[in-house]
């Protein structure tokens, strides 16, 4: 009886994920309402629950996709994967007025460049403090701090060893997790309450998953603005890190 139910869950994995996430969201909103009296947004709790489950899934299976590596929850990988995530992000743009995007246009572009460079420098500085001195390692860790996609791209093109590339991916993963958790807490202090600052925020942070989840937990109305600039960040990082920024690091060290 129970076995056949589990088999059904594994077979209808996407549908099982819908039911599971729905249940998790219901509990999270209940906790938000009853235990924090709405001070911590329900979606922020749901995202933290998701991350905690991903951690346990990861140490349980040793895989790379968190809870989705457990076959019972494989549907989470499809539901939260790039395809449906991008579709849902694009859907949030419906009804946005172009006027608001144009107003923040230039600041958004400045934010993109500044965001890549600041994150890169932060990564290089910490790597230097931990004793790394060769330009290839410094650049790869710096690039990983930009996003976890830029790290391996830069590392591969300048010939970094695989342990450094793994470290750069870890830095990028931490960045997106920290943005998810810290954004709703910091939002009020950095004026993140209007489309304009959301676009600047997206450009500075860049990690699409971090920005998407962080803004969702802050104010879902801001999501399209932040996501719009954030999607250019990884491309810009992949362009700058192995070229201009690597040359700059080589010149300094």
């Amino acid at each position: 009886m129970i076995e056949s139910f589990v088999t059904q869950l594994e077979k209808q994995h996407l549908i099982a994920a819908f039911a599971l996430v729905g249940g998790a969201m219901y509990l999270s909103y209940l906790i938000s309402d009853k235990l924090t009296h709405g001070r911590v947004h329900g979606s922020a709790i749901a995202i933290m629950v998701g991350l905690a489950l991903a951690y346990f899934g990861g140490i349980h299976t040793g895989g790379s996709k968190g809870l989705a590596d457990i076959s019972l929850f494989a549907g989470l990988g499809l539901m939260g994967g790039g395809m449906l995530r991008d579709l849902a992000i694009i859907a949030t743009a419906y009804g946005v007025r172009f006027q608001e995007i144009r107003e923040a246009g230039i600041s958004g572009i400045i934010a993109l460049f500044l965001g890549v460079i600041v994150s890169f420098i932060a990564g290089v500085a910490v790597a230097y403090a931990f004793g790394y001195r060769d330009p290839v390692s410094l650049t790869t860790i710096g690039a990983g701090t930009v996003t976890y996609i830029v790290g391996p791209i830069a590392g591969a093109s300048i010939g970094a060893p695989s342990d450094i590339i793994a470290l750069s991916i870890a830095a990028g993963l931490f960045k997106s997790i920290l943005v998810m958790i810290l954004t709703p807490m910091a939002a009020r202090h950095i004026g993140l309450d209007n489309p304009r600052s959301a676009m600047i925020f997206g450009g500075l942070m860049g990690t699409t998953s971090g920005v998407a989840a962080g803004l969702a937990a802050t104010d879902p109305k801001l999501v399209p603005y932040g996501a719009m600039t954030a999607t250019f960040y990884t491309g810009l990082g992949a362009l700058l890190a192995p070229s201009v920024l690597y040359i700059a690091v080589r010149a300094v060290f």
Partner: protein, 155 residues
């Protein structure tokens, strides 16, 4: 029909991601450059155009708003399928590097926000408090945008 809305959304996504790939190739980067952003702009323009032409009945719209509403659950599923264990394995360097990057980037948000605003807005007569003035300017600016008005309300 609902499928028209879903198809419009899907079409924007496919063309946008393709354009992002082409842009990446032209720039010599092994990554998609702004594909999702381009798709969002397409949806804003096409959706706005069709709305003006009264070609977006409620049923068509619901094909898009459904996916809009699924956004947060999808993000929760995404959080649950992140490689959190690997991040924690990366240890202190990875944590400190990303923490420093995130804190520095957070700190830059208000700076950039002020920078652009100072240029684009004409100076206004001084009132009792500088903070009140800023709040007032924002209020006025957001009077035309329901989005930020709602954002403030939520706060």
């Amino acid at each position: 029909m609902v499928i028209y809305g879903v198809a419009l959304l899907a079409g924007c996504m496919l063309v946008g991601l393709w354009a992002g790939d082409v842009l990446g190739m032209l720039l010599g980067v092994e990554s998609n450059v702004g594909g999702v952003g381009i798709a969002m702009l397409m949806l804003i323009f096409l959706g706005g155009y069709l709305m003006d032409k009264k070609k977006m009945p409620a049923s068509t719209e619901s094909g898009i708003t459904f996916w809009n509403g699924m956004y947060i659950p999808i993000v929760v599923a995404m959080a649950a399928s992140q490689n959190v264990a690997a991040a924690i394995d990366g240890g202190m360097i990875a944590l400190l590097a990303s923490l420093l990057a995130v804190v520095a980037s957070f700190a830059l948000v208000p700076c950039l926000n002020r920078l652009g605003r100072a240029k684009s807005e004409t100076p206004q007569p001084k009132k009792d408090k500088p903070t009140a003035l800023k709040q007032d300017a924002r209020q006025r600016k957001s009077a035309s945008s329901p989005v930020s008005a709602r954002a403030r309300h939520a706060r």
